[in-house]
């Protein structure tokens, strides 16, 4: 059982995040970390391998040099090895380009199961897992709040809590899965895990290693363009009252001026 977990290094959501002059996410000036939602994917991969008592987990990330920090964090939680796709030509790559690069890397690594988080905490598009399944020509089982893998039968089953219904979805392996934070709290890396992670193999691949023409990725190949970025004026300036028995009445007056009541 070969599992690949996709991990992303993102700007810390509790820091002040911003855009570069080229209207891309500023990944240099803002401290980064492993996307919180990817930790759930790592945890599920570890559980699949633990319950099957066999299998190996490879982490795959794409991004600038600092992205390897996210991979180290994942390796400290468990797993075998990692691949970091890094190339200057990748700056400004859109979701379509990202899925192209990751699909090529996944084909090269080889996989029975790809596990992703439900979204990155920076771009929050939630489209890359679906794009990967499309490009790889394998089953897509996404937004799983519960994941069950049967390695003997080469089957995967998820529970998907959608807006309109809860669905059970089943498919044969290989497959691409994304998991939500409902799948279970991720473990903390142990000290032993952190030390062991430093010795686990991490390969760095360039676009040339993957046989990808740099013209297919990067800002130049992005299929959308940002026309404007405006910092929203801080909302503040609201009316804050301390309740002395009359606050409810004053709020009703406020709601009435806004025609909500």
């Amino acid at each position: 059982m070969k599992i690949v977990v996709l991990v992303k290094h993102v700007p810390d959501a509790t820091a002040v995040r911003r855009f570069t002059a080229e209207s891309t996410v500023d990944r240099e000036a803002v401290p980064g970390l492993l996307s919180e939602l990817d930790e759930y994917a790592v945890e599920q991969a570890l559980q699949v391998v633990e319950s099957a008592a066999t299998g190996e987990i490879t982490y795959l990330t794409m991004g600038p040099a600092a992205a390897s920090e996210a991979v180290r964090k994942a390796l400290a939680m468990g797993g075998t090895a990692a691949v970091h796709v890094s190339d200057d030509a990748l700056a400004g790559t859109d979701a379509l380009g990202t899925s192209l690069v990751l699909a090529k890397a996944l084909e090269r690594i080889g996989f029975d199961l790809v596990i992703c988080g439900m979204a990155s905490t920076d771009a929050t598009m939630s489209v890359v897992p679906a794009m990967l399944a499309e490009r790889l020509g394998v089953a897509q089982l996404t937004f799983a709040s519960e994941l069950k893998v049967d390695p003997q039968a080469a089957q995967v089953q998820i529970r998907r809590d959608g807006d309109a219904a809860t669905e059970m979805v089943q498919a044969p392996l290989p497959a691409v899965v994304s998991v939500t934070d409902r799948t279970g709290e991720p473990r903390y890396p142990s000290f032993k895990g952190i030390m062991a992670a430093k010795k686990k193999p991490m390969q760095t691949w360039s676009l040339a290693d993957l046989g990808i023409d740099p013209a297919e990725v990067g800002r130049g190949a992005a299929r959308s363009t940002v026309a404007s970025v405006t910092a929203r004026p801080p909302r503040g300036g609201g009316q804050i009252v301390t309740d002395e028995g009359d606050a409810a009445g004053r709020l009703v007056e406020f709601l009435a001026t806004q025609k909500f009541v």
């Binding site: 979701a95 490009r135 669905e167």
Partner: protein, 321 residues
């Protein structure tokens, strides 16, 4: 005028409000054409026509009914390759964004997600407005390659009728084996609460840790009912088991963009703000004057929610009664 394809959401046989919003937005760019992937297109056509859909493309096949998104993406891309639309609009739901994502790969199209507004640009091409980094930035973007595909958040526009008599066109799609890879083996529709749907509601009242217990959510429900709103909950309240996860507002729950959002007993952690910060008007009630939610509030009450909320509900009910 070119068509603008609108992917219809009608899971229980009724057209959902966000679809009517998409039809309204589509008219800014071209002529709305609805895409129904599933049964009942003939029954849905009248409602879709009321909001300006001149054509209804209908695909009813096991591949779109019994399998997860792959078949729907094939159907949408197939229709797009024939109709050559000016744009494709979908609702930014889990299904909508994934159908859009796969169609974008098939069509080589740029995709923009979570638009809070869509307008026709100077050259007629759509311009999408998005919020970034927990709504601290407003970004406008355009698609530069292929048919623009835009996933739009609910409440991006008020649905405006523009009655027309639509033609229903049944489409046969040559599905691949991949469309039958991920089979839906069981489907349990959400229980109906009688309240508006959380993501669609114009008013949302949410409760958090400050409530102190599951039974106190009756305060939130009472206030929501007085205002005709939906009920939301913070992650802390959901994790504590006080309210079902389907009502969670925040980064890993639902993202809401209502006209009015009332945060009751919610401190306003970044993960919660990511799910509600695009609300037009924000009201916060919290006993801690330092709670970050007050930084967002248009009107805030520092006080005991257990005293304020019942009074508020009574005042509102009294006004309207």
């Amino acid at each position: 005028m070119s068509q603008v394809l609108v992917l219809v959401e009608a899971p229980d046989g009724a057209v959902r409000k966000p679809t009517l919003e998409l039809l309204t937005l589509a008219r800014r760019i071209g002529e709305p054409a609805a895409v129904v992937l599933g049964p009942g297109a003939d029954q849905l056509a009248a409602r879709l026509g009321e909001y300006g859909a001149s054509t209804v493309y209908a695909v009813d096949a096991p591949e779109v009914n019994d399998y997860l998104v792959a078949g729907k993406a094939e159907a949408l891309a197939h229709i797009a390759s024939q109709a050559r639309p000016a744009a494709i609009l979908v609702t930014a739901s889990a299904d909508g964004r994934e159908i859009a994502a796969r169609a974008a790969v098939k069509l080589g199209s740029g995709i923009l997600t979570d638009a809070v507004d869509v307008t026709g640009g100077p050259d007629g091409a759509p311009v999408a407005t998005q919020s970034a980094f927990a709504a601290s930035f407003v970004v406008t973007s355009t698609v530069t390659q292929g048919v623009p595909i835009i996933a739009v958040k609910p409440n991006a526009a008020a649905p405006e009728p523009a009655p027309t008599a639509p033609t229903v066109q049944t489409v046969e799609v040559p599905f691949s084996d991949l469309a039958r890879a991920a089979r839906i083996t069981e489907r349990v529709p959400r229980a109906v609460s009688g309240r508006p749907d959380l993501t669609e509601a114009a008013i949302v009242v949410s409760g958090g840790r400050g409530l102190g217990g599951a039974e106190k959510f009756s305060l939130i429900e009472g206030l929501a009912d007085a205002l005709g709103g939906a009920v939301g909950a913070s992650r802390a309240a959901v994790d504590a088991g006080w309210y079902p996860h389907a009502h969670q507002v925040g980064q890993t729950g639902k993202t809401v963009s209502p006209q009015l959002y009332l945060a009751v007993g919610i401190s306003g952690a970044i993960q919660h703000r990511a799910g509600m910060q695009t609300a037009k008007t924000i009201v916060a009630i919290n006993k801690d004057p330092e709670a970050p939610i007050f930084e967002l509030a248009d009107f805030g009450i520092v006080g005991d929610l257990h005293a304020v909320v019942p009074q508020l509900t009574e005042d509102i009910t009294g006004r309207e009664g």
